[in-house]
Amino acid sequence: MALSRKTSTPQASASATAVAKENGPVDAPVGAPHFSTGGGRAASDPRGPGDDRTARSAMRQAIANFSTSAAAVCAWELRSFFLRPASYLLLLAATLTAAWGFSWLVTLLSRGATIILRHADDPIAQFLGPNVFLIGGCTLLVPLLTMNSIADERRRATWEQLLTAPVSPLAVVLGKFAAVWSLLMIALAPWVYHVVVLRFWNGRMTDWHGIPWFDGPGLAFDFGMVWGGCLGLMIVGATFAALGLFCSGLCRVPASAAVLSLAAMGLIVLIALAPRVLAYWSFAPDQIALVEAVSCWGHLERFSRGTIEPRIVAGHLSVCAALLWGTAVTCRRVDEG
């Protein structure tokens, strides 16, 4: 029976070198002085430029390991999703919702002879902006996609194995986030696909050397709104995915995670509706503006009109980063009981 010991993996050897510099040799006997692990460099530290290079190299290696681990988790999550038959039902439901929304868009377009490309009330802007189908679809999709991420891993006891592998919890959370965000984008892809079809096909077929082929280009409209809508979906979708993941990290059972995420998504819808209610109740404009400033669906509306505001992008990315960091911290606290 071969029991050959692999002395170290590339990941292990690089980090072992880095840690050995701080902690002493790996095989050194454990004693009191050995426990100390100085964080920064002491004033009398005689290390020279060569050591700085080694430190930089160790840092690069650590970043590479972090991203490799996150990529591995992301790839595994995506793979696991597509191996479950229920996932295809979910994607089918998302596609049908988009198709339903598209039929509503076509109805709107058929009422007017031409599209008037105004910033408000434009059907295309409404299609890729906050409409009842998109809001409903996202509100249901996010809990269904994120409930399995952490809560289900806990239920199946695979979370323990994942976190005892040499991977930082943040890398695991980041990998899972990347997977959930990608899946959300895949589920929302039919919305964009429909608009592209509308732009490049007029809905009639022609005969091309005996082969049925597309008759010609479709409706002419400003593609800026489509780009804006796509970017908005990507950015606001990232916040939704991070929020869902955070809720999943707080729960031990997928059903609780789904309910919590649903409640969070419901709150986001309520925040989107709040400005109209506040205006009806004659609240001050600055108070209404404050609520509008934190409304995710309001942000998507601005994106879908082709307006890209850097402060909104930065705000969503910051919230996303905070939620992911919070997930990594709180999920470990939940594990501790």
Partner: protein
């Protein structure tokens, strides 16, 4: 030392799941962790594996402090949790390849490493099977194969033979015995016969405390003993520890000025010397007996004593 645990305590609200446990484990060998349900065995393994953090105390694995460098600890351990892998939709070899990738095995070596672990755990014939369709025994072996990836210096196994058939148990025990030549294996088990047959050393946990640290060879030779004496506690403990050939002294109980100690020793002469020292110092001595017997006898005695104390 491969594992150093000092004054480890873990509390869940008012419950002290682990209470001031300390032990050291050398660079190789098989060490058993036994105790009744709720004694804290799995909690200790979870803390050593870095999944849980202790409320207080310190854990050092392969020279890395778990609180300071958890990833350093994780690189040196292979951990088989109580529940086997639950990735039902994955095939065995795909799952192991993913775990190998997480553990930092280079893409070129990954296949060989997975093959090695499949071979060790006799999973080659079923390598393409979905984990969800495997029996509990096979799933535990998949978990064991995962723990063996990267040939860790420390193996932490929580009930490794539960759910296996008799032939698989035999093979697994043989595998563990072989592995113990190259690394430290710390296994938790309910099966006393298994612990006695496999392990050279047994840590007995009762209600979160380390009740005994037994050397199986000493247990069989009867050179260890239990002594109940009346005198200043610390002096009694110091006197017993200073006896030649004594390896450990554990206080079992204190009642009405009488202290019960369990003493592990390499030679039966330590027992005679203990009696002699008590007489010389004028301390009362009302029980002195060899701890020769099976692990089960010993464990039952400790557990009964613990129950009486709790009552």
């Amino acid at each position: 030392m491969s594992i150093v645990v000092r004054e480890l305590t873990k509390t869940y609200g008012a419950l002290r799941a682990v209470d001031g446990v300390s032990f050291d484990i050398g660079s190789s060998g098989l060490v058993g962790l036994i105790g009744p349900n709720g004694a804290g065995k799995s909690t200790i393994l979870r803390i050593v594996s870095t999944f849980l953090s202790p409320t207080s105390g310190r854990v050092i694995v392969a020279g890395r402090d778990a609180a300071v460098d958890p990833q350093g600890v994780q690189r040196n351990i292979g951990y088989l949790p109580e529940n086997p892998p639950g990735q039902h939709e994955a095939r065995i070899e795909e799952y192991l390849a993913f775990r190998a990738r997480l553990k930092g095995v280079d893409r070129r070596d990954r296949r060989n490493e997975v093959d090695r672990c499949l071979e060790l755990c006799q999973l080659r014939p079923v390598r393409r099977r979905l984990i969800g369709r495997l029996s509990l025994g096979f799933r535990r072996r998949v978990g064991l194969a995962d723990a063996l990836l990267c040939a860790p210096r420390v193996l932490l196994l929580d009930e490794p033979t539960i759910g296996l058939d008799p032939l698989q148990i035999r093979e697994t025990r043989k595998l563990l015995a072989d592995l113990a030549h190259e690394c430290v294996v710390l296994l938790s088990t309910h099966l006393l016969a298994e612990a006695e047959g496999l392990c050279g050393r047994i840590l007995v946990l009762l209600r979160g405390r380390l009740a005994a640290d037994l050397n199986i060879a000493e247990l069989r030779s009867g050179s260890g003993f239990e002594i109940e004496l009346c005198g200043p506690r610390t002096e009694c403990e110091r006197m017993l520890a200073s006896l030649p050939q004594v390896t450990s002294v554990i206080l079992l109980a204190t009642q009405g000025g009488w202290h019960s100690f369990m003493v592990a020793a390499h030679s039966a002469r330590a027992r005679e010397l203990a009696a002699h020292q008590c007489q010389e110092r004028g301390w009362g001595l009302r029980e002195l007996r060899s701890t020769r017997g099976t692990l089960e006898d010993h464990f039952v005695r400790l557990a009964m004593r613990g129950t009486q104390e709790a009552a």
